[in-house]
């Protein structure tokens, strides 16, 4: 798929600006009407979906040339997909695919990714993780937990941890708590330990599709070889990739679940029960990668026919089939928890802007966007912000530390669940 395939979209964009705004009917407060962090922070139209369309068209038609500013515009976006959802209320276009393809073009043209992203690629190539950490330490979080090693034993469920939960010291308690929770629920699960590879999400998002595909292929083969029925992950980024991108690379003989979905199932099956009460008002932040970017892959190959009709007809992902209810159902089922919703939720959620290579290249932007979200969370009157994504969690922690007007409590959903069983 090259950028040229999207020419119809690029010239038919009406510049209606709906890509910048939440759906008009949903807006309750002028303050929370916007939905694109990049444009809200940088204001110039270039830092919007429409502006990036103009950049894409300009590069294709030779109207502009690559420059540091062009790359800055292309990469100062978390690829959160909010523009994709809002555009598709009105149009049959693929904004997110175009923004992704623009980055692939940058890499293929030898212009991308940004210097700040290159260590990520080097790290994955050298160490199979994005954090420049030795392979031998990937399993450090699991020390003393006595978890099955699926390289040696069989189990029904593979718990795929992901690079960030595995290596980020502030977050390692999440996989530890998850393992304890799964044990308490009697789940037959195991991990790949030091043989677990990066899912490839960060490298795809910064545009290195070839490298990503090699990792996707490796992982699919490894997971298939294990013979597991389910692959469960705590990482939203890994989940979004497994659901929305891996099926395009290879056949997957297993079901993929995010931990929030799996906990919901275990509660329904009576394998997790609550024995305590937790009096806490919480609000849930939908991570983009289990939300609007976590929809199942829909294969389509074709072209635009007259009047822009898709030939053959195409089912568009609109962000509505993400993992929205499972975490909410889990929270609602915990005795004492009062779930208060923010205004921008589910497919219309505000992104913390940690993904898409933003946290590595533009940490100030990521913290700014996280702070916006924290302030929205505080405005609900909730005591705590709960989520389930290592990128969001680390970014919220960073933003919380710098927050002048007082911190908000931050929880991973698993941490809360473990407190009450």
């Amino acid at each position: 798929m090259s950028l040229e395939k999207y020419r119809w979209d690029l010239i038919n964009c009406e510049r209606c600006n709906n890509c910048l705004w939440d759906h008009p009917w949903r807006v309750k407060d002028a303050k929370y009407a916007k939905i694109c962090p990049s444009n809200e922070r940088y204001l110039f139209a270039a830092y919007s979906c429409q502006g990036r369309f103009d950049i894409a068209r300009g590069l294709m038609d030779g109207e502009i040339k690559y420059s540091d500013r062009v790359l800055d515009i292309i990469y100062r976006c978390s690829l959160c997909g909010a523009c994709d959802v809002t555009c598709k209320v009105y149009r049959d276009m693929e904004p997110l695919e175009i923004l992704q393809e623009l980055r692939v073009k940058c890499v293929e043209d030898g212009q991308g990714p940004l210097p700040a992203h290159k260590p990520i690629i080097d790290s994955v190539k050298s160490y199979d993780n994005v954090w420049m950490q030795p392979r031998g330490r990937r399993n450090a979080w699991a020390k003393g937990l006595n978890i099955k090693d699926l390289n040696k034993e069989k189990a029904e469920v593979l718990y795929y941890v992901g690079c960030t939960y595995a290596y980020e010291p502030r977050l390692q308690k999440v996989p530890q708590n998850t393992a304890n929770l799964l044990k308490k629920a009697g789940v037959d699960f195991g991990i790949l330990g030091n043989k677990e590879f990066c899912c490839g999400s960060p490298i795809l998002k910064i545009g290195d599709r070839k490298l990503y595909e090699s990792y996707a292929q490796k992982n699919i083969e490894a997971f298939n070889r294990l013979g597991v029925k389910k692959v469960v992950t705590s990482c939203a980024g890994c989940y979004g990739l497994f659901k929305a991108h891996y099926p395009a690379v290879g056949k997957m003989g297993f079901e993929v679940l995010h931990i929030t979905e799996y906990i919901e199932q275990l509660i329904e099956e009576g394998k997790i029960t609550f024995s305590k009460e937790l009096p806490l008002a919480v609000t849930w932040h939908d991570p983009c990668h289990i939300g609007r970017l976590g929809e199942p892959y829909v294969p389509w190959e074709g072209k635009r026919a007259k009047y822009g009709l898709y030939d053959p007809p195409k089912k568009l992902n609109r962000g509505t089939n993400g993992v929205y209810e499972p975490p909410r159902n889990v929270l609602r089922s915990i005795p004492g928890i009062d779930l208060i919703e923010m205004e921008r939720i589910k497919e219309f959620s505000w992104c913390c802007a940690s993904g898409g290579g933003v946290k590595s290249a533009f940490p100030d932007f990521a913290i700014w966007s996280a702070r916006e979200r924290i302030n929205e969370a505080k405005s609900t009157g909730a005591d705590a912000l709960v989520t389930s994504c290592p990128w969001c969690e680390a970014n919220f922690m960073d933003a919380n530390e710098e927050e002048q007007s007082g911190e908000i409590k931050l929880y991973d959903l698993v941490d809360l669940v473990l407190q009450v069983i």
Binding site: V27, F44, L309, T320
Partner: protein, 517 residues
Amino acid sequence: MSLPNDACKALENVLGAEYISDDPAMTQAYSYMWNVDIHCPQRCRPEAIVLPGSTEEVQDIIRIANRFKFQYIPTGTMLLATTIPTQANTIIIDPKRMNRIIEIDVKNMYAVIEPYVTYTQLHAEAIKRGLTIQTPGAGSQVSVLANQLFQGIAGTTHRHGYNRSILAAEWVLPGGEVLRLGSLGMSGSKWFWGDGPGINLKGLIRADCGHCGGLGMVTKIAVKLHPWSGPRTFPCAGTSPLLEAEFPPERFKMYWIRFPNYEKLIDAMYEIGKAEIGYALHKWPSIAFPILATNSKEDLWRELQSGYFQKEATCLIGVLLVGHSSERELVYEEKVLKEIIKETGGEFAPDKVYEMGKVISGDLIRFGFSTRLFRSAGTFFEVGLSIDSLDHSLKYGRVAEEAKKEYLETGEILGGDAEASDWINSFDFAHYSECESVFAMEVNRQIAKRIGEYIVKTLKYNLRDNIHPGFVEGELHDIAGPAELNYHKILRKIKNLLDPNNLSNPPYPIPAKTNSE
């Protein structure tokens, strides 16, 4: 970079380096809109983009433009092609930092806003306070200020009135001076009224269809708000894209009524106006139903090909009734409406029309789906905005139909006859009306050129039949003017008087010189 270095430095001194850019990558994002090609053979990248944060900064920018003789385009949310430069040596004034709702005066029912406040934002804040503002078919994501200056025609103009929303205004003239209009013009006064005390030059900033940034930049306006008896938040339910507006049925009710012919339909619209009932009243084009109420091109085309709405929703009006003061008010209006339907030979449309029309009733209050019109082919366009009587709208639609025929036959555009594609809107309880003849097409330069021909043809046919031609821009004023009391000469004098250097978004509202000059 073709702006002189000194000009750039001067702008940077005013705005700070963060809020000005002349980088081609940044200006590229302000250089494309397909419909520029309709009238202009070329599009240009602006030389720079500036983001002022205050009226004073706008004044300084305009003064610098006059000193260094470069052109500037004041913008809002940039939906119109008039915001894209077609000449070199032009900068864009993007008001993204001027995004404040400065005041909502509940007692006097008005709001004071800056250019980057959208209808969605203002409507959300207004209904919290028991007030509302009419929102336009362009969509609620557009700038209130820019839209009000352009036309301000909305779903509920039948009830709320045409061209009455702008109260006091703050206007930076093309020379950089600030002029305060209406009540704001009096020392120590407020924003409550547009016509005085103080000077009333609303006709200059608003007129028929605004000056499109051709006469400086309006930096703040007060807009009229109206009483709102509905819920304090917009009652949105469902999952995207199938969102629904669930207004309390005892207070809000949409009626779809069809008539045996166009003349009866217009009679009924007059009678509804005379009875002073209804919150919104429109003759709907039959093609609007599949466009607005389906969620993909494929669904839309299936609906269009089935021909159901072309058959069942033809000669159709939609009437939104609202019981503002009580449920009994709604009951009364329903009774009156049914009497009128009986007298004018109307009948209720089938259930499927009601079902598909659900999305439309919510749209009339806060437009959330109108931009779906773009979905049908690639984009949509219209000729119209011809404000006059309902009878006039009927004639306008027929002329547009005649002019459109050859383009429909070649398949260059999608639409239909007047019944299928005309929107006829009632304003001020049917005292005024306008007709928009809508069609859709894919975007390319050749079609844009053909649309340009069609617009001129419609204009000439209207003048031939002594019909007010509606929205006219740029050079077309010189065609329409001689048939309409030579207004173009006055307009040109105003442009030249206020903008002697011809720097404020030329060629709007009219080219400073005629072609022969």
